[in-house]
């Protein structure tokens, strides 16, 4: 009995001891930040923690969660996909065109994912085989995907009245709308692939030290192509949620999603230099950014301040990650 009590006391003390170190806050920046935001906003606004608002926040977070998981795969290899939101837009327009042509929901959804995968394979081949810097390649495909989306849609939004998409946005199990359930499945699958499969280990190895990974027989080229395909495929999946949310396939640029997806990954404690895989962190990062936007809106803060707030949080998080334990 006494030993158990002592052990508990010891565990508590070591936890308290950890909180005095900056690295503790750096390691857990996203969950601590999320809890802090929830506390602050629920004090300032009584409607923040209501059932309806939580449900709305989770639905609003779904796209960003999927994009954050997608981006986490690329960033773990030390790369970056700047074309992620443009790829999503391209997928959405692909869905719209297919829907307009009279195809059903499932074929149109497949076309959306395939359209996104085209951008993904282009990124993967240029970066892994062509050895062009990821930043430049994806900046180029960002522009190309945006341009293609404008060209094929003639710059006009395509209204989509699909009952399947309506179900997707409005359906829910308890407080969890279908979009966030889809995002949760993506998160679980992403975690499983990253931490329980050979491929996931190879992603981390290539990100950690490409030279060592290759010396041990890992194909860095295949791994790099694969992560850009995964990223684009998930962006294609997210495009369905985007079309469902807007009710139309718009050839918009969606830059906010790009910045927020990278921000969520950084908030989640993933190092941009690669090698340190995290899936839960980026998901919490995405939830945090959504809660931040939602809370500010509830408080009646002008929309203009939201990018400023997001930017401050991200820069602060990036500063904190410097104190992470090696």
């Amino acid at each position: 009995m006494t030993t158990i009590a002592k052990e508990r006391q010891g565990a508590l003390q070591s936890l308290l001891g950890q909180t005095r170190q900056l690295s503790f806050w750096a390691e857990h920046a996203a969950p601590i930040g999320l809890v802090a935001l929830v506390i602050v906003f629920s004090i300032l606004s009584p409607s923040f923690l209501t059932f309806g608002n939580i449900r709305a926040m989770l639905v609003a977070a779904a796209i960003l969660v999927i994009l954050a998981v997608a981006q986490a795969f690329v960033i773990t290899t030390g790369g970056i996909d700047l074309s992620i939101s443009a790829t999503m837009t391209f997928g959405a327009v692909g869905f719209g065109i297919a829907w307009q042509a009279g195809l059903g929901f499932v074929p149109a959804a497949l076309i959306a994912v395939l359209a996104a995968l085209i951008i993904g394979i282009l990124n993967g081949l240029l970066i892994a085989k062509g050895k062009v810097t990821d930043f430049i390649v994806t900046l180029g495909t960002l522009s190309m995907a945006t341009g293609l989306a404008l060209i094929v849609s003639d710059g006009k939004p395509i209204t989509v009245n699909s009952s399947e998409l309506l179900t997707l946005t409005s359906g829910s199990i308890g407080p969890f709308g279908y979009p966030i359930i889809l995002a949760a499945i993506v998160g679980l699958a992403g975690w499983f692939v990253m931490f329980r499969t050979r491929f996931g280990l190879h992603i981390q190895a290539v990100g950690g030290s490409e030279e060592s990974a290759v010396a041990n027989g890992v194909s860095a080229v295949k791994v790099r192509i694969a992560v850009y395909l995964i990223c684009a495929g998930l962006a294609g999946l997210a495009s369905l949620l985007l079309v469902a949310r807007v009710g139309a396939a718009e050839p918009a640029i969606n830059t906010a999603y790009l910045l927020n997806a990278i921000a969520a990954v950084v908030l989640g404690g993933v190092s941009l230099t690669g090698g340190k895989a995290k899936i839960v962190g980026p998901i919490i990062g995405a939830l945090l950014l959504t809660a931040l936007t939602n809370g500010l809106t509830l408080l009646g803060v002008s929309q203009f301040y939201q990018p400023l707030a997001v930017g401050l949080v991200v820069v602060l998080a990036a500063l904190l990650t410097r104190y992470q334990k090696k």
Partner: protein, 261 residues
């Protein structure tokens, strides 16, 4: 020991000989790095390879580990003539090389590095998942068998000392059932205590029946560790000696050419 062996042209009839490389030549452009070097490795022995910079030690080792295929000459393994163009092919013949940069990924755990590229899985096809339990326990057993200062297998390599990293890389090479483990200056960057521990690891490797080929610049280490020494000079293995029958002075004289073999 016959006289012919000492002159560097071994007779491969000795049943203890696991690998013999005969008359290996390798040129890079106009540079003749190896001009017909011949050495032998025996089972359960530590064979040292010494020589001045540029004598051809590293090139010879790279020929044996599959990094550079030799231009000519034969490599005989267990009585069979073999050739390999890549390190993977050498590994198939149970020749493992501990690379000088160790080829470890710092952000991964010890067990992940141990199995990197040869992971154990369960399940079928695309549903295969990592057999983490088996990999952790196997890595723990194999590392504990060899090394004295073992870290827990779940710790990140980043937290390991230089000696622990070296021990991990050696245990990994041995863990894949290497009959021959090649090491290039394994203790070059280590302190006295860590060097001692790595040397113990190399000894236990030998005691497990592995043939170790060790490149070293450290004469004391060669005298302490090895059973046989090959001296290289100007692209040739100019002399082979049983360590017990030679001395540091003789080896220096052989390296510099002050004494003919």
């Amino acid at each position: 020991m016959t006289d012919t062996m000492a002159t560097g042209f071994p007779a491969s009839t000795d049943p203890d000989v696991l690998l013999s490389a005969t008359n290996i030549k390798k040129s890079f452009g106009g540079v003749h790095a190896l001009k017909g070097a011949s050495i032998e490795l025996r089972r359960g022995e530590i064979t040292a390879l010494i020589g001045d910079n540029g004598a051809g030690k590293s090139t010879l080792v790279r020929c044996l580990s599959g990094i550079h295929p030799p231009d000519s000459g034969t490599i005989t393994l267990d009585g069979e003539v073999v050739s390999f163009g890549t390190p993977k092919e050498a590994q198939k013949h149970k020749i493992e090389t501990v690379q000088q940069n160790l080829a470890l990924v710092e952000d991964l755990a010890v067990w992940q590095n141990f199995f990197l590229g040869r992971e154990l899985t369960h399940g079928f096809g695309p549903f295969r998942t990592l057999n983490r339990k088996l990999m952790k326990s196997t890595a723990q057993t194999l590392i504990t068998d060899l090394a004295v200062n073992v870290p827990p297998v779940s710790s990140k390599v980043r937290r390991l000392s230089g000696g622990q990293r070296q021990a991990l890389a050696i245990a990994r090479a041995a863990g894949w059932g290497g009959k021959i483990v090649i090491m290039d200056e394994p203790t070059a960057a280590l302190g006295v205590q860590e060097t001692e521990k790595v040397e113990q690891t190399i000894r236990s490797l030998r005691d497990n029946g592995v043939a170790v080929l060790l490149i070293s610049h450290n004469f004391d280490q060669v005298m302490r560790l090895s059973d046989h020494v090959w001296v290289m000079r100007a692209g040739l293995a100019v002399a082979g000696r049983r360590t017990a029958e030679t001395s540091g002075e003789e080896l220096v004289a052989l390296i510099t050419g002050a004494k003919e073999a």
